[in-house]
């Protein structure tokens, strides 16, 4: 079954202690769409400017991503620039140029509206809600976010959270949203806001799921080389929903394994700048690392 993904489609300029890469293909929707496309056809919603390189359009197409919902507007593509510290855990935003993203209103082509699996990747919660408004009875809706929206659009975010099946955020965001340090307590508070499933991302420490069938500790693949973590969280949710869309039966039956696929694709994402590693990835490599993770947690 196909997956609908909305989020940012951007150019990322990324500095790490070892290298600097200007204007790579980036944005939450780009990372999520490429990750999901390893499993299932993807319908992308986003906006780019008329400066958006043709090779990036070609890259989307190479991954068979449906671009009917990608608007191309006169103006500049959203441009983000960030720099990572030595330990790669912390990063600073150097620059944010919204460009055509500043006036983006997502419109769903008719062919998108019946998608059963929906990923509201990280963008303003009002835009995520606007996409959801246009959907016809999706089976599973998952929303991601970032600290920015907790800071400047909390009301919109809380309104959105009520409407989704699964809500994804990282540890510090969970703490910020609930004022609870304890992950179990934070998850419980977030359930009260609506979502049946709460997924807390913990970077290289994996991810945590809280749902009707209890908790799941999703491992992270231990990486030999961390090149650039940008987009890892987006890859995680992208692969997660992509895998989910291939599984029959109730969501509960496949969510744990879907998280592991998410974790694995995120690990590959970290091995290259932007999408450079992910776009070279083969499905067999993903399966290989999932099998390795199974061995890594067995006791």
């Amino acid at each position: 079954m196909s997956v609908l993904i909305v989020g940012s489609t951007a150019l990322d300029s990324i500095k790490t202690p070892n290298a600097e890469n200007p204007k790579l293909l980036g944005g939450s929707a780009s990372h999520a769409a490429v990750a999901a496309a390893f499993f299932t056809p993807v319908k992308l919603i986003g906006v780019v400017g008329d400066d958006f390189p043709k090779r990036y359009i070609a890259l989307y197409r190479k991954h068979k991503i449906n671009l009917e919902g990608l608007q191309v507007k006169a103006g500049k593509t959203f441009h983000w620039s960030g720099e990572y510290e030595v330990n790669m855990d912390n990063r600073q935003t150097l620059l944010t140029e919204l460009g055509v993203f500043g006036t983006f209103t997502p419109h769903l082509p008719e062919s998108y509206k019946k998608s059963r699996f929906v990923l509201l990747a990280n963008i303003a919660p009002s835009l995520q809600a606007h996409v959801l408004d246009q959907m016809q009875r999706p089976k599973f809706v998952i929303a991601d976010t970032m600290d920015l929206w907790l800071n400047i659009a909390l009301k919109d975010l809380l309104a959105l959270i009520r409407r989704v099946d699964a809500f994804v955020l990282n540890e510090s965001e969970a703490h910020q949203l609930t004022d609870r340090h304890n992950m179990l307590h934070a998850a419980r508070e977030i359930h009260k806001l609506g979502p049946k499933y709460v997924i807390i991302k913990k970077g290289h420490n994996g991810a945590f799921l809280s749902g009707p069938r209890g908790f799941f500790l999703c491992p992270a693949y231990p990486l030999e080389s961390l090149v650039d973590p940008t987009g890892a969280g987006d890859s995680f949710v992208g692969a997660l929903i992509g895998y989910m869309a291939t599984r029959p039966g109730p969501v509960e039956n496949s969510l744990r394994r879907a998280m592991v696929y998410g974790s694995v694709v995120a690990s590959f994402c970290c091995e290259g700048f932007g999408l450079t590693r992910t776009t070279k990835l083969k499905r067999s490599e993903i399966e290989g690392r999932v099998a390795q993770l199974e061995k890594l947690v067995r006791f």
Copy 2:
């Protein structure tokens, strides 16, 4: 098979954001010995002053810990006082009174020398080495440490590490010792220093094993209530070696599961001040939580 444990036997005064508890039974050897005793008989090596409360001696005995190697000297028992910050991740040492520990030389009773399983719990590496010198061909020796010894006794520590089968330290200590942020790289450097097994403790994110059979990601039990993490690392290694001593065959076959037992007993340790929760623990509760952890990581 019995386990020999050397380490500190102390009185701990612990402050957390919620409570303050003076002069609890503490020290690395106390925590480790009680944890190990759930699985196998324990022979303790340590020193206390003549102020050491009789009820703590009774507590050791209740857990059937062999005290032939516990010296009682005129003077004060080692007293440590620490305070945890709100998030319980960081703590500050308020006070360290070495007392009789300042002149401690561990002497092994004859009945201790043939122990097959040895835990050198956290004390000065020179004392750990002195115990090892007196042992007759142990099967498995594991050493724990703390940042203090990296700072003030690195040469002794490096000499000790060469002689042990397994070396345990936490993430920040692994980074300090090897100057590597990446856990795989840090483990590799530590293997070069001698140990066949390297175990990196990651607190509520579990623990990591590197050994001849590859890596293992040991989960941590997600706690509803973290009361006091003091001694959790000592409980971890204590239960680990205690479980190991009950298993026949090569070390490789049982080490992963031993770590999970360690992780579980450490989780109970955190649920009370000092040893208050651990000393009330039942073996059936340990087994229950091990079974829960199996379910928590299954996908």
